[in-house]
């Protein structure tokens, strides 16, 4: 597959997401939101088709590089935006999902990675696809929880506070379930590949840190202090999101990760 093909995909994707985002942004305060939702589902279908196409053309799942995982993120985010809109009528979540997906596609466009069909032996495993998919779905859900918390902190509305916190919980519980599965699948995969569940590779450590911070959020929400200090819970979610981005894309900049087997793309 030529690199031009990937660039064309990104350019069309960026244009589609940019139009969808602008329309959704403009329609946020208007009576009707139909066009935004239609465009959101079009972006989901577009990304879905693109992922299937790349999978078929490359002859391997498009999950090898960080850039490829960003495509999955750009697929799951508007999907969640669409689903949450149909459930809760959150327009701003749709807008922010489209915006974040747009940002991630822009990163792919301005910092293109080498696309190589070849998979090393360790990645040729049945665990590869479920491990990456649950992680990307989990990251998207947890990003949605961060968006909800930013929205609440910025708006400062108290009228629907308990409902918003419960919705943030829903995103965290479902996202946490996904990243827990990702962590377990990774450990089982490592056991089959190398004979050990855990090697304290920096990527693994940061995935564990992310998991622990969401664990703090879940336990903090169960404590009585959180009803008084609900803002702390919301700040934890934002901090957790930053750590999650570090685990996903930032570890290659750390001194501890120079010998990591997980640094790619």
């Amino acid at each position: 597959m030529s690199k031009n093909f990937l660039e064309i995909i990104d350019i069309i994707g960026v244009a589609l997401f940019a139009i969808s985002f602008i329309i959704s942004f403009l329609q946020n305060k208007k009576k009707t939101f139909t066009l935004s939702i239609v465009l959101t589902w079009i972006t989901v279908i577009y990304m879905g088709i693109i992922l299937i196409l790349i999978w078929i053309i490359a002859g391997r799942p498009p999950m090898r590089t960080v850039g490829e995982t960003r495509l999955w993120y750009a697929f799951f985010l508007p999907l969640l935006g669409g689903i949450t809109y149909s459930l809760w009528r959150y327009r701003w979540l749709v807008t922010y999902s489209l915006f974040m997906a747009l940002v991630f596609l822009c990163i792919n466009l301005f910092k293109p990675e080498l696309f190589v069909k070849q998979l090393p032996p360790a990645l040729q495993s049945a665990w590869f696809v479920p491990h990456v998919i649950v992680y990307m779905l989990g990251y998207s859900l947890l990003a949605a929880s961060a968006i909800i918390s930013v929205y609440q902190l910025v708006s400062g509305k108290k009228s629907e506070l308990s409902l918003i916190l419960k919705r943030a919980d829903t995103m965290v519980y479902s996202g946490f379930s996904m990243i827990s599965m990702g962590l377990i699948f990774g450990a089982l995969w490592a056991k089959v590949a190398w004979g050990t569940y855990w090697a304290w590779d920096p990527k693994e450590t940061w995935a564990l840190i992310t998991w622990f911070i969401y664990l703090i959020y879940i336990h903090f929400r169960l404590s009585k202090s959180n009803t008084v200090n609900y803002k702390i819970a919301l700040y934890i979610l934002i901090f957790a999101f930053v750590v999650m981005l570090m685990a996903w894309m930032g570890i290659k900049f750390l001194p501890s990760a120079q010998s990591s087997i997980h640094v790619y793309g």
Partner: protein, 406 residues
């Protein structure tokens, strides 16, 4: 105002932080004073099993005796769990940032470079385990759907930690280097000490399958480079890049240099090479050349002219397999196949394909294997699958997708 000291509500999350600070502080003092961690001294089987059962019994008795006390209620509450997880996370963040020293004999290294083996880490972890076990024991009494999720999660993690912790003395990880047609009955542990095994392995063949080589094309004006897999099935073929047409005329995956060209020849120091016709569409000038991957015997040939660089990368390994004969001390001999992601079970051991002689590639006459004996693996797997079930239940019980605006 009178304070009701009999109520667990008297304690706040701040008290939990005080308790966690005590554990962290003791650990820190031990690290500073002792300078080197003692490590977890767990006896081998059946000592570890007896110790585990004993520890569990003691904890159960303590739980039964003290279950109605404020201390027990406090330790099983999130008021302690949150601070304990916070401190443990801080240590994990330090591990994630600071490169850790893995050398077993790192006596004089500052504890910050060896956090996983520090007293601070052990004691903070111990506090977490105590909370985990106490909270699990407390909730096991009450049966409800939500409680099952809680018990599965917490008990799953407890079983994983206990299985891995108490089982570590029985865990053996050895490195075995097989040499073609030589039966090997020994391996080396992490301290590089020789360990005799109750079986021998004789490598009969080592097979290595390669991906096709990649071509890297760089044109200075483009400020980017292109990486593409060579196509051996459709020779000759053209590709367009910038102002250039690149024609791949010939490809040889294993060849040697002869005069200014390459000829097919299979041997360990052979290279991959391709013959290219490069045509500049603007100036209509063309040039033909060979590029090669290079080896210990031949220099790498790269095309580099007027801002255009074209090179061929050494082919990457796609799959490697060791075929060996297995000779157990007691039992019948058999043939085994070992591949990455497909370990072979030999008696009590699982044998993993690790590496080979990379210089010799597919002609490697050695194969490096990882030999693991992990008798507590079923216990850890039980914990993992219990945790997995708990996570699924957490998803079901913890989410409120049906919440509508009030």
């Amino acid at each position: 105002m009178r304070v009701n000291y009999k109520s667990a509500n008297h304690y706040t999350i701040l008290h939990g932080f005080y308790l966690a600070i005590v554990f962290v502080f003791i650990g820190f003092v031990l690290d500073v004073v002792l300078k080197k961690p003692l490590g977890l001294l767990v006896p081998v089987f059946p000592g570890n099993l007896i110790l585990l059962v004993g520890t569990l019994l003691v904890l159960i008795i303590i739980g039964i005796i003290f279950r109605k006390t404020l201390a027990f209620k406090f330790i099983t509450s999130v008021k302690v769990a949150v601070p304990a997880i916070c401190f443990f996370t801080v240590l994990l963040i330090l591990i994630g940032i600071i490169p850790q020293e893995f050398n077993q004999n790192s006596k004089n290294i500052h504890w910050l470079y060896n956090i996983k083996n520090s007293w601070t880490f052990y004691l903070t972890g111990l506090l977490l385990v105590i909370i985990l076990m106490a909270a699990t024991a407390k909730r096991m009494k009450v049966f409800s759907f939500r409680n099952i999720a809680f018990v599965f999660n917490h008990l799953g993690i407890t079983i994983i930690l206990l299985g891995a912790g108490f089982g570590q003395s029985d865990y053996k990880e050895l490195r075995m280097t097989l040499i073609q047609n030589e039966p090997i009955w020994y391996a080396y542990n992490k301290n590089n000490e020789l360990v005799e095994l109750d079986f021998a392995l004789e490598m009969q063949s080592f097979e290595l399958e390669y991906h096709l080589p990649l071509i890297k094309i760089e044109i200075d004006k483009q400020k980017r480079f292109k990486l593409l897999e060579i196509d051996t099935a459709n020779l000759p073929y053209n590709i367009q890049y910038g102002d250039y047409t690149i024609t791949f005329k010939e490809v040889c995956l294993e060849c040697v240099k002869k005069d200014n060209s390459y000829v097919n020849f299979e041997f360990p120091r052979a290279v991959s090479a391709t013959n290219i016709l490069l045509k500049n569409m603007s100036s209509n000038i063309d040039t033909t050349f060979w590029i090669s991957t290079g080896s210990k015997m031949y220099l790498r040939d790269i095309f580099n002219h007027r801002g255009v660089q074209i090179s061929i990368m050494p082919p990457a390994a796609k799959k490697y397999t060791t075929r060996a004969r297995y000779y157990p001390k007691n039992g019948t001999n058999s043939d085994v196949i070992i591949q990455v992601n497909k370990p072979a079970k030999l008696g009590q051991y699982l044998v993993y394909q690790q590496s080979y002689d990379i210089d010799k590639g597919k002609y490697s006459n050695i194969s490096v294997l990882n030999i693991v004996k992990d008798p507590w693996m079923p216990v850890v797997y039980l914990g993992i699958f219990m945790l997995l079930a708990g996570i699924v239940l957490l998803f079901v019980t913890g989410t409120h997708f049906n919440l509508t605006k009030q």
